[in-house]
Amino acid sequence: MLEIKDLTITYGRNTVIKELNLTVPKGDVLAVIGESGAGKTTLALSLMGLCPGNVEGQIIYQGVDFLSLPEPQRRLLRWNKVSMVFQDLNRSFNPVMTVLEQIMEPMLEHELLSRKEAQKKAYYLLNKVGLAPVKGQMYPHQLSGGEKQRALIAMALTNDPEVLILDEPTAALDGLTKAKICELLKEVFSEKTVVLVTHDLSTAYQLANRVAVLYQGRIMELGLTKDILKNPRHPYTRGLVRSFPTLDATKDLQGIPGFGIEKQEGCVFANICTQRIADCTKIIPKLEKRGEREIACLRGGVVNLLKVEDLTKVYSGVTALKGVSLDIEEGETVAVVGESGSGKTTLALCLMGLEKANQGSIYFQGEKIVKWNKEFYQKVQMIFQNPQDCISHRLNVLETVCEPLVIQKLGTPEERIHKAKKALRDVELPDEDEFLNRYAHHLSGGELQRLAIARALVLEPKLLIADEPTSALDASIQAKIMRLIMDLQEKRGLSILFITHDLALARKVSDRVFVLKDGQVVERGLSTQIFSLPQHPYTRKLLQATANFSDF
């Protein structure tokens, strides 16, 4: 049992770990994940009492506060009760000692065993970590990376410690070696209390039963590994998971926007968080229980942006939508797929208030929408299916992009022009006067679509409803535009309701998918699942008809 209470670690003026509280029960494997610089290694070293910084707080092993002990007593605990696998493979060995000698060293140092017994145990350990006895006679430089890692693990196991701390045990290894080491670690971990520090989410997923997400010395999210990595609820964790490439992830890589400011009040993630509110920069969020997990976020993690319940729309006898329910979270892309006539566009029009639904309710940021007013439209914008139609032929580029600002009465004319130019640059259109004075019929299809997107984004909405935004474009321009929209999602936390008939495209951009057929949602779920294991026959049919270059 390992307990960390109010741990604060500073290097000079720099606070690396901030009031950290963690409990690791016996037999638990806790992975501490985060970007480099999050304080992972500092945390791991402090657990060994090896951290060079100024350490405050308590680290309690079996009721004893390790930090309050004097150094000689700490040494007694070290390697007997707590041992560590260090991060840097090459620098963790003494180059002039054989591997066997190094494995024996802790036993001899603590005078637990005689030299002979120690040697016997060392050979046993070598065998246990899968190294041939002959490797024991070798010097560290004669071993490969994977073998070194095994040797290090053997070293950590010598005195049979109860608590094991591993700092990036798989960082420098290739995939196959990594898999073997993971197998080994799984065996080694039995009955031990383990803290696994890693930036490799897949290692954490395989080895740990719980995960703590560390960012700038604070825990952002804590909970069961499967829950957190498959369904991250903190915006930071979500960014981390989105940037990690896995085979089953279908959406393209996304990251975390910008860098956090180190010294700031309130939440450490606030200045780059896309769903921050005013309080976020003032109040430090506490790790609070939300269902199975704990989240440190004033907003309770990723917030729900739009919720649709039981939406039904009948056009003179034809039912276009039959009890459609869906929800969109902040910073999420939800794809609505289906063939033409399945009610996709009707859904978009109903959400935008351009068509009145016969039944059902729509909630935006928790509030039921009764009247579609200017405030609603400031936060929700739509990209229409056909850019040629949705831009008036009487307005030039500048007037087109400024129109939403004019209608919303936002800013002075100069500010509007400034914002419009920025929106144009965001979509990679020129902002020179010559271009600003052009009319819609002077622009190419791709430019028009980008202009329509710039116009929808100039109000900086939270939700973008994109109705087949690229169906009229060729693939290369489509790719550019989709990249652009996803970049904006990363930067601004834009939520996107992406309506499309192109499943191949939906697979690349969406987090979740809703399959619509004859106005009904026949299948819903994470994109990773739907595209690999479609359940409904209609989804399978759609997938079969999707573009591919395979010969089977």
């Binding site: 935008m352 056909n386 139609d389 949705c390 831009i391 008036s392």
Partner: protein, 282 residues
Amino acid sequence: MHINYVRGFKENRLGRLGIIFLALILSIAFLAPVLTAYSPRQVSENILQPPSQKHWLGTNDLGQDIWSRVIFGARTSFITALSVGILTVTLAVFIGCSAALLRGIYERFVLRLIDIFLIIPNILLLLLTAAYLRPGPVTMVIVLSIFNWPGCARIIRAQTLTLQEKSHIKAAKTFGAGTFYILVKHIIPDLGPILASSFIAHARRAVFMEAGLAFLGISDPLLISWGTIINRALQYSYLNNWYWLLPPALGLSLTVMAFSFLGYTLEEILNPRLKVGKNAGD
């Protein structure tokens, strides 16, 4: 679709002709006081004179200079045409757009009202009303406009309904635009071509109607109008006074033709399929 009107008119023969006619009559009307030495109302003893150096088109039964009366008549014609055109189109836009935007009972009421106006023979009603009211120039414009708006309003309502379904107007709604903004910034400008052709059609009609009513002696007898001149001339037709009868008739024809040509041209510009020997979209 973006339309270049200037180029359209330049390239069209009838269009050029229409503009030339219109410019000719307009400049005559505008420069009337310079083009004659006589006041059109000046009565003199020299009655029923044939054309001479002094009176280019002779004088009428009251000794008034006919040339002066003809060129001042152009003014009446034009002012009536413009006023009726503007008033009719304004009424039609107001009623047609409001019907399309507000829908409901109001729209049905407007549509039935339009039907009623279109069913009852216009001329008859106009004659009766004019005969009853004995209209001055202002009343004349109002009366003509009241009988003209229904057809135009019907077209405008239909077009407004179509325009409302256009994506760019829906897009404006999704920026939070109200009905008034959409009407003023999107629908009315988009109605431009229809408004222009309606205006021309109704102006042309007004020229004709005004002259017709004046000819029948229903309008203000003191008004200098081509209709009154023709009426007078006909009473003295036994004098073989072509110089008296022909010029106002010619002015009338020229004006009506000018407006007609402009109307045709506009139609051709707006509907490329009407272009002779050219493919649509050229």
